[in-house]
């Protein structure tokens, strides 16, 4: 069992009449990648800002722990923070910016200069080290921003939307950087909307909506916790009439049956073990040209969970 690094306990925060975070509790464990998910305005950034002490919670407790699991006060030098609203000194040289941010996190000037060069190599921006930031492309500025947040090798890196503004190639590179951080011993908390990337990266996820917890756990735990964790997609050579499926609705393992515009049938089942029976049923109705089975993606679970959380999200997600 890995040790806990941060404990968030019944934390809440309101801005005037808006309740941004409401009684949220979780633990971040040493060495894991923990993903905070949720739609815009769900309270993710507020939660991250409270975790690093930038804004105080109205209620609840945020505790930090040392290696021996003793509660300690937060040390900014052990945190790396990539804010959602981000930017750097555009009229300054990249190397000077990185050196300055390293020093602000407690490194000496020579140490931060060495780290700046190392991170520039890792992020493939070495050739821009002595250029002013404003001369770099948006993607490269984003890389410099990430380097500025983590070049001091923090115990915990809080990355708010690390993939935003990056093209698919650079998103893959960022994925590698976050894994590298984790492998080097840094615990990572991230928030992101790119759920397919989060699914590949995160050890655990925490889904928020309107400031409250909706789902949490490892990706597998989250998938199994959702009703209809298994889906089947059946494509017929010629779509059978809609009344052909009426008897299927009495099957206890079927959670949902959706006929799509392209003639594909999307079935959501409680359990995976029934797939063979469903193929047999389908072939009785017509020629099956494609039969695919699999667990729901995090993206689908996210949409379903939000749909279940209230009509507001049902409208937003179109589910």
């Amino acid at each position: 069992m890995s040790r806990k690094l941060v404990r968030v306990q019944e934390v809440g925060k309101a801005f005037r009449t808006v309740r941004a975070v409401d009684a949220v509790s979780f633990e971040v464990r040493t060495g894991e990648i923990f993903a905070l998910l949720g739609p815009n305005g769900a309270g993710k950034s507020t939660l991250v800002r409270m975790m690093i002490g930038m804004i105080p919670p109205d209620q609840g407790l945020i505790q930090w722990f040392d290696e021996d699991q003793n509660p300690i006060s937060m040390n900014p030098g052990q945190i790396g923070y990539l804010p959602e609203d981000r930017g750097l000194y555009r009229d300054q040289k990249v190397v000077d910016i990185l050196e300055y941010f390293g020093q602000l996190r407690g490194m000496s000037r020579p140490q931060s200069r060495i780290a700046a060069v190392e991170w520039a190599e890792r992020l493939e921006v070495t050739q821009y080290l002595h250029s002013k930031l404003e001369t770099l492309s948006k993607g490269n500025q984003q890389k410099v921003q990430v380097a500025a947040a983590v070049l001091h090798r923090p115990r915990l890196a809080l990355l708010d939307e690390p993939f935003s503004g990056l093209d698919p190639l650079n998103q893959e590179m960022m994925l590698g950087v976050i894994r590298h951080l984790r492998d080097a011993g840094t615990t990572v908390v991230l928030s992101a909307h790119q759920l397919e990337l989060v699914e590949r990266l995160a050890d655990r996820v925490y889904l928020l909506a309107q400031g409250r917890r909706v789902l949490s756990g490892t990706v597998n735990e989250v998938k199994s916790s959702v009703h209809g964790g298994y889906s089947l997609r059946i494509t017929f050579a010629s779509p059978p009439p809609s009344d052909a499926f009426e008897t299927w609705h009495h099957e206890p393992n079927l959670l949902e049956c959706e006929r799509r515009a392209d003639g594909t049938l999307q079935l959501t089942l409680h359990q995976q073990s029934d797939a063979a029976e469903w193929l047999e049923r389908a072939t009785k109705l017509g020629e099956v040209t494609e039969f695919r089975g699999g667990t729901l993606s995090l993206h689908e679970i996210y949409l379903r969970a939000l749909n279940a959380n209230g009509p507001k999200y049902a409208m937003l997600t179109g589910v």
């Binding site: 930038m54 804004i55 923070y81 981000r86 930017g87 941010f101 947040a149």
Partner: protein
């Protein structure tokens, strides 16, 4: 504590390097010196060039031209026509013909100047002609030159000053220089702080820095670095002035030093008030800049002109350095940084007043630094919106209003 000081120092060094570019300052210094050299050189060339040779006919035996002037007298045994020919040929610059009949009658005295073209030196000649005509009139009125000199001499007033020291024109000039230096440095600091803080908000730098260090450390470092940069910028201007003054003295210009500046014990006091004043107002500017979203449109920008009022007040009442108004201004933090140095130069300041002023200024800086830190801490986290006056009032009292935040 040591870590806090280290962080403050790191920020101060960064801000200083951002705004004080030695290369730019040296280029500015060299440019100014070159400008001064060209100005002085031109002046000297204008002085030495264009010596005017003038022939004079009909003048009294006592008619002379000053040795230092541009005009010089040419003497030769020529007739009027021969002189005219020489003027026409450019051999002589002018021929002055004075018509003064032996029986004096002022309306008959006449002077005629014959030149090739309009003379630029006519104004220099006129007083000489005036003296020559006066000489002729004296003879006409049969007044002895000594008698006339006594009549024309201004009333002689002997001024006896009872104060310990005399205040000269140069002292007054020095007092206004102190006022100007504080104003200029404050303006440089204002420009740096306003562009720096609003720029950091617009460039979204603040959140990342505030996650690393406390806002009070950040503003302290900022104030130190930017104040130092502003003072160094002014120091380069002063250095330029001093080099220019030294060069002027070497070239023969007489430039007296103000009495106060010859008293070396005043220098640390003047420096203390200057540095304190600049830091005081920079604290104010930092707090105001933190609540401005866009300097081009913000109504809060008018607050930045507030420090000018007490400074101008000091300038207005400088003629009465020991009057009630100036005494009050020299005690109030914010104005004492200008008023007290002016009084030191122009008036009489007791030790009690001096110490009170210093203590109040230090206390004022401590309080304003704290308030500026509170406003700064809350204000820098606001993007794209400005706080209300109520929000600002709450922040100055150390209470948080929840305008900051969002998701």
């Amino acid at each position: 504590m040591q870590q806090q000081l280290k962080m403050t120092w790191t920020v101060a060094c960064w801000e200083f390097r951002r705004y004080f570019k030695l290369k730019d300052q040296i280029v500015g210094l060299v440019s100014l010196l070159l400008g001064a050299a060209v100005g002085f050189g031109g002046f000297r060339i204008a002085q030495s060039a264009g010596q005017v040779e003038l022939a004079v006919l009909g003048a009294s035996p006592g008619f002379v031209l000053p040795e230092k002037g541009k005009l010089s007298l040419v003497t030769a045994d020529h007739t009027e026509q021969e002189w005219r020919d020489l003027v026409k040929a450019g051999e002589v610059d002018g021929l002055l013909i004075i018509t003064a009949p032996t029986k004096p009658a002022s309306d008959l005295w006449n002077a005629q100047l014959i030149v090739r073209q309009e003379p630029t030196w006519l104004e220099e000649l006129k007083p000489l002609l005036q003296a020559e005509r006066m000489q002729w009139e004296m003879q006409a009125a049969e007044i002895a030159p000594a008698t006339l000199a006594r009549i024309l001499a201004p009333a002689d007033v002997e001024v006896v000053t009872l104060a310990d020291r005399d205040v000269s024109k140069t002292d007054r000039l020095a007092a206004y220089c102190i006022l100007g230096a504080t104003l200029v440095t404050s303006w440089i600091g204002l420009a740096y702080l306003l562009t720096g803080i609003t720029g950091e908000k617009q460039q979204r730098v603040t959140e990342q820095i505030v996650s690393a260090i406390r806002p009070q450390m950040w503003i302290d470092g900022k104030l130190l670095g930017i104040t130092a940069a502003a003072i160094c910028s002014l120091a380069f201007l002063i250095l330029t002035s001093l080099i220019t003054l030294a060069a002027s003295m070497i070239l023969g210009f007489e430039i007296p030093l103000p009495g106060a500046l010859r008293r070396w014990e005043f220098i640390p006091l003047l420096a203390a008030f200057y540095f304190g004043g600049v830091f005081f107002w920079n604290c104010f500017y930092a707090g105001v800049a933190a609540v401005i979203n866009d300097p081009n449109t913000s109504s809060r920008s008018s607050l930045l002109f507030l420090p000018l009022l007490p400074m101008f007040a000091c300038g207005l009442v400088a003629s009465q350095p020991d009057g009630a108004m100036m005494r009050s201004l020299s005690l109030i933090p914010g104005t004492s940084s200008v008023a007290m140095p002016m009084r030191l130069v122009l008036g009489e300041v007791s030790t009690v007043e001096l110490l009170s002023s210093l203590i109040l200024m230090v206390a004022g800086i401590a309080v304003l630094r704290l308030i500026a830190g509170r406003v700064f801490a809350a204000g820098i986290m606001l993007y794209g919106k400005e706080p209300s006056w109520l929000d600002i009032a709450l922040w100055t009292l150390g209470r948080r209003s929840e305008v900051a935040g969002g998701n």
